[in-house]
Symmetry: C2
Subunit: 278 residues, 2 copies
């Protein structure tokens, strides 16, 4: 049986590289669909078209996407033996919403599993899932509908930005799963890269929202079953821009995806549709 996320990001092949999709209500923040969610819709159409899962995908955000129908037009750029490169545009009502460029292929570059290996890093240290913090309270009627779909649990303290006690560090870590426990595949990882609150919220800086310009995700492994441990950090908040890096680790302590986005840090918080309350 397909999970809620698989159904929400499903696309229908119209032939010739065109796919119909629906930006489903319930995966949005303040009425506009989550960027990673849109990227997953595009990634699913592209993966279907080239017959391989995503390996490295970059999305450029052109316009907000309200709920409603859309189309994804996929063009194969290169179709090689192991890798295929494709380009895609997500459109709604004749307007370009997102442009995507990606290379697709199976994680089979080291079939023997004995290739060059050196990992400098480890999953974030987190208390058990049930001891971490739900990112919204039940009484929070403004809270993003998105978090109803997700079993996200924040590292205790990292919810400080919502309570008026930011940690002072641009970092948020926690567990990720889908509420319906559907498995997390390569397309879902494109979504996970953008599924947590922005870590800049924990700095205490006057940043009310963080519109993404560009998001790149590298899929580095096939997740083993169970929730992921994720950490999101911004190291360079300067000049009206920030980068946000994420790492996603599975239950075997394998890094399964790495992502980076470039986003704006608008000064005008009066036009802010998604200021966290707290």
């Amino acid at each position: 049986m397909k999970g809620e996320f698989d159904l929400a990001t499903a696309v229908r092949d119209l032939g010739g590289g065109s796919y119909s999709a629906t930006v489903t209500h319930g995966w949005d923040i303040g009425g506009n669909a989550n960027g990673g969610f849109l990227m997953a819709i595009c990634g699913r159409a592209m993966a279907d078209h080239v017959g391989r899962p995503p390996l490295t995908v970059t999305a450029h955000f052109l316009a907000p996407a309200p709920s409603g129908p859309g189309t994804v037009d996929v063009e194969t750029v290169r179709d090689g033996r192991r890798l295929a490169t494709a380009n895609a545009t997500l459109r709604q009502d004749g307007r370009d919403v997102m442009r995507v460029l990606g290379t697709f292929g199976h994680q089979t570059f080291d079939q023997q599993g004995d290739g060059p290996t050196l990992v400098t890093g480890a999953p974030p240290e987190l208390p058990p899932f049930d001891d971490c913090v739900i990112p919204r309270s039940p009484s929070d009627d403004f809270a993003p509908a998105l978090f109803d779909r997700l079993a996200v649990r924040l590292r205790p303290g990292d919810e400080g930005f919502r309570l008026g006690v930011p940690t002072g560090r641009a970092e948020i870590a926690g567990w990720f799963a889908f509420s319906d426990t559907q498995p997390i595949d390569a397309v879902a990882l494109l979504f996970v890269a953008d599924a947590f609150p922005p870590p800049v919220f924990n700095t205490g800086l006057p940043v009310g929202w963080v519109p993404t310009l560009e998001l790149t995700v590298h899929v580095r492994g096939v997740p083993s079953p169970g929730p992921l441990r994720c950490v999101y950090r911004s190291r360079f908040i300067q000049g009206g821009l920030l980068e946000e890096d994420a790492e996603m680790w599975d239950s075997r302590d394998v890094l399964v995806a790495q992502s980076r986005q470039l986003a704006l840090t608008p000064r005008d918080v009066t036009s802010d549709p998604v200021t966290p309350r707290g």
Copy 2:
């Protein structure tokens, strides 16, 4: 007067978004042009077409590029007030060599200079330029022609991979300038992101070459005059793939660019055109 790099990456506007370019001999490694060099050619054509410098650019590498003529076809995806998004293909002899997607705009998101700022990081600590190490020896007739064009100086010890004494860490740091001291602009930063030897060479792992699949560069500032301090690291070498992150810092200690690439770590070193000697 234009510098050697500006001349080598120059493009000629043929109208309709088409540009002619020449992949110049002397910017190659073992006969194939450096990836960042090709990205700079594309970035220059795209920047000309949309009238703005690069801000975030992603290139997917489709085929090696020998010396010779090429064309860059640029398509404007979105032309906004402050930002423009464009797509480009570099072709040689009818073959697609590189596909690029980028968003272009001036670094003017924080015109007052008093926006939210928090930097967690610092330039690599390096001895003075003249106390660092030239990455090739004068007798090294196989050494990449590329390094003739560049005033690259490695942190002492980081040249160990060439001498049979790798440091054991996937990190290489050093100074970057052009040999003719031409200023480093936003297009040049696309090149700098890929201009050092791969840090994996210092692990001692049996990785002979590192073919790039994808390279993303975020331009985060306009460099002040003088050489840059750069550091290149790979943290996750696994599954036949690695990521390589770079930071580029200017003489004011400002991070002016950040980059990440995804590359293969082929096991077959017998087919290796660029094994470092030492």
